[in-house]
């Protein structure tokens, strides 16, 4: 260990590098007090023994890896090293090679499953401390892909536990979708697969009702809606009223009736928190081409106008509550709806787009330029005819 201030010659990074000032910190790490020289020396002394141990075990593991050593002892050493540093991806790789080339050899399905259950427990202990580490999630998936007896419902319970801690961790959402896909891949019946999609759809409703600003849930909902319009399970199977209504709509492939149902949901959400962008982004999608292209001219005009009305009422209330200040998300959605309405008229080949709507469009867009000057330029580019 260096006793004096380290040398500063160029190329010194060949020896390693220091993260005194950090390579990539956990986001949101608060600035710590600058260490005094004495404190620094003390810490270096304290770390020296750890560094020796860490480097020794890293060297040992990398050497065994280079020599293709696949033994139980090697596996143990990777456990020790990963306990210390679960970001060491090369060691996860080596661990998988040890499992594949040695531990799995000669095991029947049941014994392999048992071994992998143990492996999953190790992975879980790492994930609890590092819930956003790509390498660890990846290893968990690898384990499940190698286990013919994988217990998917246990994995779904694990996902639920992680959502308790952070309902927007995108690793967890992605993992959930992965588990669902694995469950579907293991099913013979198409009806069963569709039912699973619908259960996931119902789950997003639950998550949204718990917290309307969970954008991850709105996102997943949009993905599932498209799937369910393509294929959905029989409505008669569903006992719960509100869910059966959705199923009937999916069975009939009626995008118009779906919009009617969603109108209730988002009306609730925008009244709960009018400043939360999640639901507004969802509404924007509901009135995009995916839905409107399936509606007749009359249906489109009718539902856009009714939605516009709902938002106008909220906008009015918001204005009264906020000393005359307009809610920007109401305005943004209003101009968007007016533009979509314009497109509907255009597609119908009529020039009857109401003059009052055109006037409203300009008035609201100009109001946005005033209220939201950070994005003034995008509003000036935004017209009824802009692409």
């Amino acid at each position: 260990m260096p006793q004096s201030e380290p040398q500063r010659e160029s190329g010194a990074f060949l020896d390693g590098y220091r993260t005194e000032a950090g390579i990539l910190r956990e986001h949101g790490t608060k600035k710590s007090k600058k260490l005094s020289k004495e404190a620094m020396m003390l810490r270096m002394k304290k770390d020296a023994a750890n560094i020796r141990r860490y480097r020794k075990i890293s060297d040992d593991v990398l050497t065994m890896k280079e020599n293709n050593v696949y033994t139980e002892n090697a596996l143990k050493l990777t456990t020790q090293l990963l306990d210390w540093n679960p970001e060491f991806y090369s060691v996860w790789n080596y661990r998988r090679d040890i499992l594949t080339n040695y531990m799995f050899v000669g095991l029947d399905v049941e014994k392999k499953h048992k071994l992998l259950v143990g492996e999953l427990m190790f992975v879980l202990s790492k994930l609890k401390s590092f819930p956003k580490c790509y390498w660890i999630w990846n290893h968990r998936k690898w384990c499940l892909m190698n286990d013919e007896r994988a217990n998917w419902s246990a994995e779904m319970q694990l996902v639920a536990q992680f959502f308790e801690v952070d309902p927007r961790n995108f690793h967890v959402w992605q993992y959930r979708r992965f588990i669902v896909q694995c469950m579907k891949d293991g099913m013979v019946s198409e009806q069963g697969k569709d039912l699973l999609d619908f259960e996931e759809f119902a789950f997003t409703t639950k998550m949204i009702n718990k917290d309307i600003s969970n954008f991850s849930a709105w996102h997943n909902r949009s993905d599932l809606v498209v799937k369910l319009f393509a294929n959905s399970p029989e409505a008669s199977e569903e006992k719960e009223d509100s869910l059966r209504k959705y199923l009937e709509v999916f069975n009939r492939k009626s995008k118009k009736d779906f919009l009617e149902l969603e109108l209730n949901l988002f009306q609730n959400a925008i009244y709960t928190d009018p400043d939360d962008s999640s639901v507004w982004i969802y509404i924007r999608w509901l009135f995009g081409d995916y839905f409107l292209s399936d509606l007749s001219f009359k249906e489109s005009v009718d539902i856009i106008n009714r939605t516009y009305q709902v938002i106008s009422e909220l906008a009015q209330l918001e204005k009264e509550d906020n000393h005359g200040r307009d809610n920007q998300w109401c305005l943004k959605t209003q101009v968007y709806l007016l533009k979509q309405l314009y497109k509907v008229y255009k597609a119908e080949g009529t020039n009857d787009y109401p003059e009052d709507d055109a006037r409203q469009f300009l008035e609201k867009r100009n109001r946005l330029i005033e209220l939201d000057p950070m994005r003034a330029r995008r509003y000036t580019d935004f017209s009824l005819t802009s692409k």
Binding site: M1, F13, A21, R25, G28, D47, N138, F170, R377
Partner: protein, 322 residues
């Protein structure tokens, strides 16, 4: 209290210090990021016109030490396994020093094989042979092949199709089809489309532009997803996308500049995710990259597609070739 002047000299010192002999345990524990750190650190120095802080020979020989003879790619540190992430960083740094020739023809062709071999039938790429798929790896593969000038329609066309499948209901992009939008993934997807000369295939551009500009929050900083806190690194991930779409003026450049500058450390240099937090080289580089895109502080102009200075990327042959 928070700095409002650009502290370039301090940042240079900060980055030089970073590559001194490691003394704390966590210095050793961050080796899996070393190659990326090299790209962020040296990239930052080049943006500040400090191209000669390190000896080219030293840098090049370090990178060659990270070449993984088993696979043909580059690892993050000597003896670490090759991965697409570290392979791109290695190639980017070599390109910065105009030193691609240092890789022998034989090794270079194995690198090309390594990258191409990781493409899956659906056009996506896995990061290494263990199956993790992510649009990050599509981007790193495609830019790596672009630097090596080895793109072909057989690689590009399926990759473009995969990227287009990753566009979501909000018009932005996620890590795989069905995954939630995130601005860093928006960058990897738009960057891939741009390198592949396929931006004309992009749908719902106006909604995407709105999604991107909505990432700017009241204090001027940008966030990565709706209802999340702002963070300096999105000054790159979001702004580069707007740069690619030629809509940099869809956010408030002065407010963003203020946000980045106030995240500087005025004692020891470096930039953190937000004012008052601990700095690291990742946020330092992406903060500088953001300032460069905004044309601030006399920084070297950066190419929003490649994350390299424009004077470097203009030497890359553009796809489709001839």
């Amino acid at each position: 209290m928070e700095p409002q002047q650009f502290l370039g000299d301090l940042h240079v010192e900060y980055i030089k210090n970073l590559f001194r002999k490691p003394v704390y345990i966590e210095h050793w524990m961050a080796e899996h990021l070393k190659m990326n750190a090299l790209y962020w650190g040296i990239g930052a120095l080049f943006l500040m016109h400090h191209n000669a802080e390190f000896e080219k020979e030293d840098v090049v020989s370090f990178i060659l030490e990270c070449y993984d003879t088993r696979s043909g790619g580059f690892g993050s540190a000597p003896r670490h396994d090759a991965h697409l992430l570290s392979t791109l960083s290695a190639l980017q740094v070599l390109k910065l020093y105009d030193a691609l020739d240092a890789v022998s023809a034989e090794k270079r062709s194995l690198t090309v094989q390594f990258i191409k071999g990781l493409q899956l039938p659906d056009g996506s790429f896995e990061g290494d042979r263990f199956g993790e798929v992510d649009t990050r790896f599509v981007y790193t593969a495609i830019q790596s092949l672009a630097i090596l000038e080895e793109l072909t329609p057989e690689i590009v066309d399926p990759a473009v199709n995969f990227i287009l499948r990753c566009q979501n209901f909000d018009s932005s992009f996620g890590m795989v089809p069905g995954a939630e939008s995130h601005s860093a993934q928006a960058f990897t997807c738009l960057g891939t489309l741009a390198i592949c000369h396929a931006l004309d295939k992009l749908q719902n551009v106006e909604t995407l532009e709105w999604w991107l500009s909505d990432r700017q929050v009241a204090n001027g900083g940008l966030n990565g997803r709706p209802e999340k806190l702002p963070d300096v690194c999105y000054s790159w991930w979001v702004l580069s996308c707007l740069g690619i779409l030629d809509k940099l003026n869809y956010v408030d450049s002065e407010k963003l500049t203020h946000f980045i500058l106030s995240s500087q450390n005025s004692e020891s240099g470096g930039i953190s995710d937000r004012a008052g937090n601990e700095c690291d080289v990742y946020h330092t580089f992406f903060g500088l990259a953001g300032l460069s895109l905004l044309g601030k502080e006399n920084l070297e102009p950066i190419d929003p597609i490649y994350g390299l200075p424009v004077n470097v990327t203009k030497t890359i042959k553009k796809y489709p070739y001839n």
